[in-house]
Amino acid sequence: MSSEERAQELIKELYDTVVNMDEEAAAEVSQTILREGIDAYQAVVNGLTAAMEKVGELYANQEYFVPELLLCSDALYAGLDILRPHIKVEKAGAKGRIVIGVVEGDIHDIGKNLVRIMFDAAGWTVHDLGKDVKLEKFAEEQQRTKADIVALSALMTTSMMAMPKVVQMVKAQNSNVAVMVGGAPLTREIAMSYGADGYADTAANAVEEATQLVKMLGERKG
């Protein structure tokens, strides 16, 4: 087998470990990939990231649910932890930087965690503030990390009321940052009325939405 074919074979195997929720196998295959000198970046992009996109599809089609997603993410992180340190820096350009958290008053973070996983998988630099995050922390963290996007999550109708204030705080500090929101009680219409730039109704399409927002920011700067 040629080295290219062998690389494809192992990357496919890595892909399958994530889709099949096999954390141990993901770690083993990742080690094998390194041992055989296969490019770690290719393995991450075509193995892990691509697998999570597939997982996202399965979730959207109601074939996978949250438990499956969580185990897929365990496999993802098992592979990422091994491969990421070996990615050559010049290839590693992050797709973007994002601050994410569940707004003050709300402790429901499964949705946010799933979104974080998708951003990690897609190669973003993620700064996760956790849950029940005081409003001013979002703007503070954005300033500290120079994030392009601030992503707010809420499940409760009381905590969604905090979102317009956070949007205001973030934009007052830096108008060239996009804010996106998500969570069960929200819609795109409500998001826009809050002053947000973007909205995602599932973890599966959050990354695409954020990518478009970064593009929009770039065009605005240019």
């Binding site: 929720m21 109601q62 996978y64 649910f65 949250v66 438990p67 499956e68 969580l70 185990l71 365990d74 707004v103 003050e104 008053g105 709300d106 402790i107 499964i110 965690n113 029940d132 409760m156 109708t157 009381t158 905590s159 969604m160 009321m161 905090a162 069960a184 009680p185 929200l186 819609t187 409500i190 009325s193």
Partner: protein
Amino acid sequence: MMADFRQDRMTEEQRMNALLNYQKPDRVPILGMASAFYMINCGYTLTELQTDPQKAFNAMQWSCQQYNWQPLWEHLAHTVLGSWDFGAKMKMPDSPYAMAIAVETNAVQTEDDVWNLKMPDPKTTGAILKRMEFSKLQDEAGWPITFFSRSPFNTGADICGVEQFARWLMKKPEICDRLMRMALEHTLNVLQYWVDTFGAEKLVYFMSSPSEANQIFSPRHIQKYALPYHREFHQRMRAMGVKKFMFHICGEQNLNLPYLAEFASSADGWPHPSILTFGHEVDLEDAGKYFPDDIIMGNVEPALFQTGLPQQVYEHCRLCIEKGKKLRGGFILAPGCGLPPKAPSYNVWMMTKAVNDFGWYE
């Protein structure tokens, strides 16, 4: 009652009794699912909902009078809460954006914690003392006494946090089984305390199951792991003599409905009619088809009360009423889940107005 509406021809009790006997009431009743909203309506805090049963009772009674809603069978807050009762560190709603008591640290973190879990005291743990006070106020008022817990599956998930539960369910379901077993036994211990204090015939059991929603778990997981515990729960609840049951089938549960319907129609199923409440995700007509022998309740989307225009809320209520009035088992108008406590009052009042305009059985 506010405004100048049609006069009721039945009392709240008569209206509920009509429904429970498969008879048409004078009009569609309204159940607010609004314990937090009642507090704000009367100038109280959400912390007081947890700590001051007298204020919570007053707020419920007064607000139901103001809005002309059904106070009977309305629930307060959880009698049994898996997280709190099994030792989680809890936080009172201390921010203007917090709606309810919340978990700061879960009761269990590791597998060993689960195996070492001890059964809590059914008379003193968590919120039980406060809920008992509230139940006594209901009893003094001659109201049915509501007992509120989540399902055994959900309560078990609350003990460790739903994310951890989901992982264990996939990899080590025996741990989840242990949690559900502890949850069921504890819930029934507390229920026995209520039965011993008030008598089974006065109790209304209100159960919710938000973590059984298909936004989290697949229907095959619910069928395999949750339903057996529902079965056992109902067998034992029946044996205790508790006959009145409300089930809040919360969130996106369309894929679960066939399994729940099969269970409901079996000999082990819940009593009929029970009151089944649904979120906006489940169409009321579908609910009626799956559960023809039960009273269907719902299902105006809660966020709409907070963010929608009054006309939108009114229209949604009208649609719910038009569908609900046709249901064989009977209908109660309600939000699809807890009413947002800070929803504009005028939007909330749209339920009252819509029932006045469309909800009469002539």
